[in-house]
């Protein structure tokens, strides 16, 4: 029994309480707003709440995609990790993350690190309501939307390191990453930090969410090494995912969730901007499928469902950075390219012994970078925003942004994993890996009664 681990959890939870997730309930403010103002505010806020639900369901999407693409004997473990991450993500975001990512004026160190205090505190009256975000959403909507986002970055890692990582250390990594690293680097752009000031454009997080998760995935894979049986005498052996319907359910749920991920990132229900974002998002997803289908059919001779669904997600990640400003035609192009590259990238990572069972590095890292880059390529010179906040997109700044996340996220993730590796260890025993983590880590099976060959 890993007593130390439980104590850490308990300690964390206790800390949360001492720190006080204290909030002050909003009281009605004195300022008067017209019914029309309130109606518009109410509508905007509904849209943001719908987006919360959509982003929430992405976690189920991740859970099913990841378990579909791995073996039956590790299914409970993957489902468990994805469930735990949602919990850890929301609780730590409540405690620290939200105020670390959106420090407001509480910058501690340049525009690089800020912190607005522990716990949640909704400004009283209209300040936490209609006045909170220009009538677009209230404080609580803001918190929950961002909180649902936050857990995503850790979930990305989960699939990449699946089938061999120890449960406890993985959860510790996730907690640290989602509590500290993601909000810290996220503040650079979305919190109004230095990259925002430079004019870096990452609409809904090709870099801020997907690459941030992707870099950690890469670090984890490198430190863990490939799964047993993946590389035998120098040749690559496929380790097949066990459940294609689960994978498909997951991919569709992720696309669905992306409507909220990208559509919600407009941060209002603007009837022109939001459906435009939904359109570019959908067309990039559709084109991602098409691109992957063509690539897979050409390269593999027979079209591979798992590749095509990865292509769909690749298109979605690719469009995420520029869904608001790229044209419909470019959105299709971005989707096609990302979809096709996804196929090649999955195969390439396999060959260079980066054993990523679900293609997370391809989808989130490679296409996250590409998507951010494409904004610089296809929208170079575009002016975004109005008045004081306006900035001009440039390929150079996009590159700076990509690089700055690379040089922070990868090393930090590497260090955390390294630290865990040299203390408690991060990889399960060979015996446990053969028997499956479901038995090893959880003492139970995912498909009790079913006859399943576990010769691999």
């Amino acid at each position: 029994m890993k007593t130390w681990f439980k104590y850490m959890i308990v300690a964390g939870v206790a800390l949360a309480f001492l720190a006080g997730a204290g909030e002050v309930m909003a009281e009605e403010a004195a300022v008067e707003y017209s019914t029309a103002d309130i109606a518009l505010y109410t509508a905007n806020n509904i849209w943001m709440m719908v987006s919360i639900f959509l982003v929430f369901i992405m976690h189920l999407g991740f859970a099913t995609v990841e378990s579909g693409l791995t073996r039956a004997k590790n299914t409970v473990n993957i489902l468990f990790k994805n469930t735990a991450i949602v919990s850890i993500g929301l609780l730590t975001y409540t405690l620290i993350g939200f105020n670390l990512m959106y420090p407001g004026d509480s910058w501690l160190f340049g525009k690089v690190l800020g912190f607005a205090g522990m716990g949640l505190s909704c400004p009283e009256g209209a300040a936490g309501g209609i006045a909170y975000a220009g009538g677009n959403y209230s404080y609580w909507t803001d918190f929950l939307f961002q909180g649902m986002f936050a857990a995503t970055s850790a979930t990305i890692v989960s699939g990449a390191v699946a089938e061999r990582i120890k449960l406890g250390p993985f959860l510790i990594f996730s907690a640290i990453y989602v509590m500290l690293v993601y909000p810290f680097v996220g503040s650079w752009k979305w919190g109004g930090g230095w990259l925002a000031e430079m004019g870096f454009h990452d609409f809904a997080g090709s870099t801020l969410v997907h690459s941030v998760g992707g870099w950690a995935a890469l670090a984890g894979i490198i430190l863990l090494g490939p799964r047993l049986g993946k590389y035998v005498n120098g040749t690559v052996k496929p380790i097949m995912g066990h459940n294609m319907p689960l994978l498909t359910i997951g991919a569709f749920l992720l696309w669905l969730g992306w409507f909220g991920f990208n559509g919600g990132s407009v941060l209002s229900a603007d009837p022109t901007a939001v459906p435009y974002v939904l359109t570019t998002t959908s067309l990039a997803a559709a084109a991602g499928i098409m691109g992957a289908m063509i690539a897979s059919w050409t390269i593999q001779k027979k079209p591979d469902l798992s590749m095509v669904l990865n292509g769909c997600l690749a298109g979605l990640v690719g469009i995420t950075a520029g869904a608001d400003i790229l044209s419909v035609r470019v959105a299709v192009l971005v989707g096609l390219i990302c979809g096709a590259i996804a196929v090649v990238s999955v195969m390439t990572f396999d060959r260079i012994r980066i054993d990523d069972p679900v293609g997370a590095t391809t989808v989130h890292l490679v296409c996250g970078i590409l998507g951010t880059l494409f904004v610089g390529v296809f929208a170079n010179g575009t002016v975004v925003g109005e008045g004081a906040d306006a900035y001009t997109i440039s390929l150079g700044v996009q590159l700076v942004g990509i690089a700055s996340y690379a040089v922070v996220c990868f090393p930090v993730a590497f260090l955390i994993f390294k630290g865990l590796k040299s203390t408690v260890g991060i990889r399960v025993s060979e015996d446990e890996e053969l028997k499956g983590l479901d038995i090893g880590e959880h003492g139970m099976e995912a498909y009790s009664g079913f006859q399943i060959f576990t010769s691999q």
Partner: protein, 113 residues
């Protein structure tokens, strides 16, 4: 008494069963198996990596019969399973020392059928 074990193509199971019934062999046990034989496997490809599958899906029959049924049984299996194509399968015959019907405790000749 003999124990006959046969590996056949899965899709031939119904035909074999029919042939056996017509030859008065009504009792049998069936499991699914993977077989490796003369039949070439096929190639699957998963996420761009090729894999040669040479364990093909087969159905395994196990039939205990009295001596006078051995020939009929083998004949019926061949009749139902034969296509002339590679992969049709094999039949193995072993001596059966004893047979017991659990319900009644009967043994030997009577317990088989």
């Amino acid at each position: 008494m003999k124990l006959i074990v046969a590996y056949i193509q899965p899709e031939k199971l119904n035909a074999v069963k029919k042939a056996l019934f017509e030859n008065d062999v009504h009792k049998m046990s069936v499991t699914n198996a993977l077989g490796c034989g003369e039949q070439m496997g096929y190639h699957e490809s998963y996420r761009g990596t090729d894999i040669e599958v040479n364990l093909l899906k087969k159905v395994r029959l196990e039939i205990a019969v009295n001596k006078e049924y051995v020939k009929k049984t083998i004949g019926a299996i061949c009749e139902g399973a034969k296509t002339g194509k590679i992969g049709d399968g094999k039949i193995f015959v072993m001596d059966l020392v004893e047979c017991v019907r659990i319900r009644t405790g009967e043994t030997g000749y009577d317990s088989i059928g």
